[in-house]
Symmetry: D2
Subunit: 361 residues, 4 copies
């Protein structure tokens, strides 16, 4: 009988509409009435969005840098919400549960998922707001819900938890854990945007002694100081490598690239000490000139990758126990109807002093 | 409509019967006609058994040592088979696929599964032939099929792969990996039964220099030599600790307990060198007297646990590429109708010179 | 000429005397005039003590529990001082350097040292104040000085650094690192003496969410709260296991034993969750009854060992950067002439509310 | 008296001469009579060379690629020999001991040595035959002898052990361990010279399922097959990336670069699968164009470095126990008087079918 019920619901679903921010091709996004999604597979959940946000990747799509995202797609891969409906095979969630939506969808059973590389799930990965409709809408369908949602305990600060959809696990896994930050380390984070800041906040879980943050924007550097940076450098006006090499023994233990450009990667490869780790988080658009003629003898490690979100449960515990306050990253609030304004503010951080923006229905 | 279809099938299923070996309480097992299982949840698969085997744990149940196993349960948690039917949410398998059945059932999405501790899956773990009906039958229902079965490529030696259901991953994960066997190491395996032998075979993946195998049965020790042991000791006639300490520098790097008794654990704690690892595989029925007054200063590590089967895909690759031949472990073959005889042979290894037995429909 | 010079110096050395606390057999310690030590090997350094302290192990010797320590030995294995003289092969230190004395002496080149297991150095290990004369004196000879001393940067708080000789690395390495404390974890520390408190302070480098501290002394539990415990339990009046199991999911991720008694280890084995780590720091005088009949299936790891002090440089960085304040552990100060009084105060912590005591010349 | 004795010995040493191969500037090497070295520091040993060999790095110096090596330096950093004399602080070796000379000199006590990064020893590193006189001579002075020599047990095949000075630990540590080769893996080794072959031999310690070896020389590829490669590809005639991607799922788990050129690194970055490791061993003369615009999302790790030789003791055990036969790598033998001929043969591997050459006094 399930199919029948689903069909009926689907019919109702198709009959109903909702608001969603739809990508219309390079430079074009539009908030419009679109069909409300329904359950398609027994492992799906339908989530009503309570809060969502905008990511640098969304700007990338808007600017035409992600040709795999087709016009007509609803954007967004972050958010918290309430489970509205679940497929017959969903075990871990039921209607009414409050949930964090992971930016990574993962089936939990493919070859990559079995290695906890959810980023490369053969039936998922980063698909929300990219290959399937996303979270900048009133509702979103989440495939493989059991492994792609996280339960929110009663009483939690849900706005803070929006930061757990993507940027905190990204900073933590791809920056801090890949970089192997240890107590007493000297580390550098190049780029003080949302993901660099997430690396800054989560690096402190492991008690490094010195944290350099490098950026071009003095406002962001001031924020970084507030968030725990011990040293900040404006790379517009200072020779970063020269300064860091003069202030450290042989350079930094860990350099985290959180921009995605040849110049910022270049800083990393010039300040890394022998035995150090360069952890690349940045999304790069072109190749970089790796100075391997100098580095081959330096016993360094370079890592890069998309977030797996396998540390999201761990991060949730740190937020709930007050070890970290992700609210610090939130600078602006908008209603869904104002989302185009939200894109503008988020897209002009130097002018708007924006970091993360919250969007509510 | 699915429910209806399932009901119909269930009805047919209930109508049909099959042969299965049913536990009847301490000391009692009986091969009898029982209902053929059907799909119960969308994540289930129904598997037709091609080959199964008997485990020491099955003997434990038979001898009344596992009160959690209730009379009426079909025994067995190992085997290979053909997928006969799948639930609507099963993605990774389809009708006709040849599969290895994992002794551990795991949903892939609970807190423990997300840490690859499938052994403690909140909706699974070791349930087959224990809490739900098992594989010593013509058919078996496998819950959470996507994560609890492994595909067999065409042309593989399926009989060898029965060893991948339980004993090879157990020896590998709980013995060899937990023990951290490294190239050049001196290791000792106490107990040359099927699991000890599995540890012996898989330890050689990591090229230890010296492998001691200890047992009371000279036949098994001779087999161990054939399987790669460099030294064997019959603990009935030799002071194992004295001999090993005289032949090594400070003792062994890794001691693997594959029996489950105070005396065999005791050998391990007397032969372990500073910095060494004791990896317990044995299923113990009573506590042990840990000589911590001597060991606290020796910087040793003791591990224990149920297999997770998360290295089964890795082991499958080593079998397919000829790195290991699990057929060596198989000593006898029986038809399902002869399974009581198979239990007798398996249960009297010294007399029957048995190791693993294969049972076919 | 070196030998001659050494002989002359030795003669002078023998001619000169100093004060030192000498073990005279069970129950007997005496502060008396003893020969001032001199350089014996080219790798030795002679250190003038600035500050030393007393360890639980010293009480153990006094109470006759360490028969390997012979009467006539000067006690003490902790302290900071000034290098007074160095052997011809010492590279890393020169006369006048301020240094932390490691409780572990290590040559840096034997099989164990090459694995960073300095605790088991074939030419060292725990020998200071045990097999050779120690630090509770005006001067101490340090063998293998290059690897057994740590330089103190100018301006550092030297009193705090006395805690780096033994208890902070012990708590950190044998408790926290062996226990693999992670962000978000729930951990329990059984025993709130100096080493348990060191585990408490250094555990916080890794941001656990919940820290239980268990002890019999309410004063120490109150201190533990000040030092960062989130929960404390007096095991004299509360069923610890019952309470922790009721307040956590399946028990704690990490249980650190910092007492060295069957009852305290027993708490650990009853509160550990599947997949958890029991890290034993305590010095045990008798065997323990390991409940392996329950634990074999729980996938737990038990570690134990003597400190290696290989994280002392890391800890030094955390102290210098203010990540941790070891001064919190110091409750009393004495002159060397008052050392017998210091032993009394240190030996009666419940009455004296003492934790670590500092002794100065 | 030591200083006097040393001076006398030094005088004798200066009086005596020996044969040594001296670098005379780009393109110039000369076998000539040079002063026999003597002990300079208490931690030195003087070793009489029994067997030495030539490394690709020696060719690099000869071709003027290593400006840090000054004319007048005796070349060579590999060999086995007999201890002829030891300084007063040497503990681990005595006159008459047979030893392996490590290509890396390390004091064992500096910050880097304490992390087992002997490659970056602050008082050593790669200095033999580079910054100080080396092993292509009748005698060599070894600084920090305790940590820079390895004892050869009686009866060992000393010629095979020459391969333990450099190439086997280099292939093992920088190729295989950095690449994290696991049982069942598919790996590729790009470059079938001595170091690539060492990676090939030592990779098999960890039982990969498939090993591709890529080179331009069919003779070397045929040897690689003999040494355990399962697949070989001549990159002169085949599109390596295309072939490997068509034969594997998503590429290889580990790609080991053992040449040191942009083209060979490029193969690695095109065949690596998501989650894979590129382990660079090659000595590079120019930068490479890292395709990070494609790789950032692939969760790969790139490592590079100079050998630490901290696995030499482990490798020695594997050789002594017959797990590996390094003699396979030796193709030619010469007397020291014929060393110029040896350079010619070693420098023309395609023509001479040479791999490693042994040079004896």
């Amino acid at each position: 009988m399930e199919t029948l019920k689903m069909t009926v619901e689907s019919k109702n679903g198709l009959a109903k509409t909702m608001k969603g921010l739809v990508y219309g091709g390079p430079g074009i996004i539009e908030l419009k009435e679109i069909p409300k999604p329904g359950i398609q597979k027994p492992t799906d959940a339908l989530v009503k969005i309570l809060k969502t946000t905008i990511c640098g990747t969304d700007l990338g799509i808007l600017h035409g840098k992600t040709p795999t995202c087709k016009p007509g797609t609803t954007l967004g891969h972050e958010g918290v919400g309430i489970v509205e409906e679940v497929g017959t095979a969903v075990r871990n969630f039921k209607i009414g549960d409050h949930v964090i939506i992971s930016c990574i969808t993962s089936d939990g059973t493919c070859e990559y998922c079995k290695k906890q590389m959810y980023s490369h799930c053969e039936n998922g990965g980063w698909i929300l707001g990219h290959l399937i409709n996303g979270t900048q809408a009133e509702y979103v369908r989440i495939p493989h819900a059991d492994n792609s949602l996280h339960p929110i305990p009663a009483g939690a600060d849900e706005e803070a938890l929006v930061m757990l959809s993507d940027i905190l696990p990204t900073g933590h896994e791809i920056g801090v854990l890949n970089g192997q930050v240890k107590p007493g380390d000297t580390i550098a984070i190049v780029g003080a945007g949302p993901v660099g800041m997430s690396a800054l906040l989560t690096a402190q879980f492991y008690s490094p002694a010195k944290i350099y943050v490098i950026d071009l924007d003095d406002n962001r550097l001031a924020l970084a100081k507030k968030f725990g940076a011990t040293h900040t450098i404006n790379s517009a006006t200072t020779d970063v490598a020269k300064q860091i090499l003069s202030e450290t023994k042989d350079g930094v233990d860990v350099a985290i690239e959180a921009v995605g450009a040849p110049a910022t990667f270049d800083i990393c490869q010039h300040i890394i000490r022998p035995g150090g780790h360069i952890a690349n988080i940045g999304v790069h658009g072109k190749s970089i000139d790796l100075q391997i003629q100098n580095l081959w003898i330096q016993n360094i490690t370079i890592t890069m990758g998309l977030v797996n979100t396998n540390t999201t449960p761990l991060l949730l515990k740190t937020v709930l126990s007050g070890k970290i306050d992700p609210n610090q990253l939130i600078t602006h609030h908008f209603k869904l109807d104002e989302i185009l304004k939200a894109y503008e503010v988020f897209g002009n951080p130097a002018k708007e002093k924006s970091m993360k923006v919250i969007i509510e229905p």
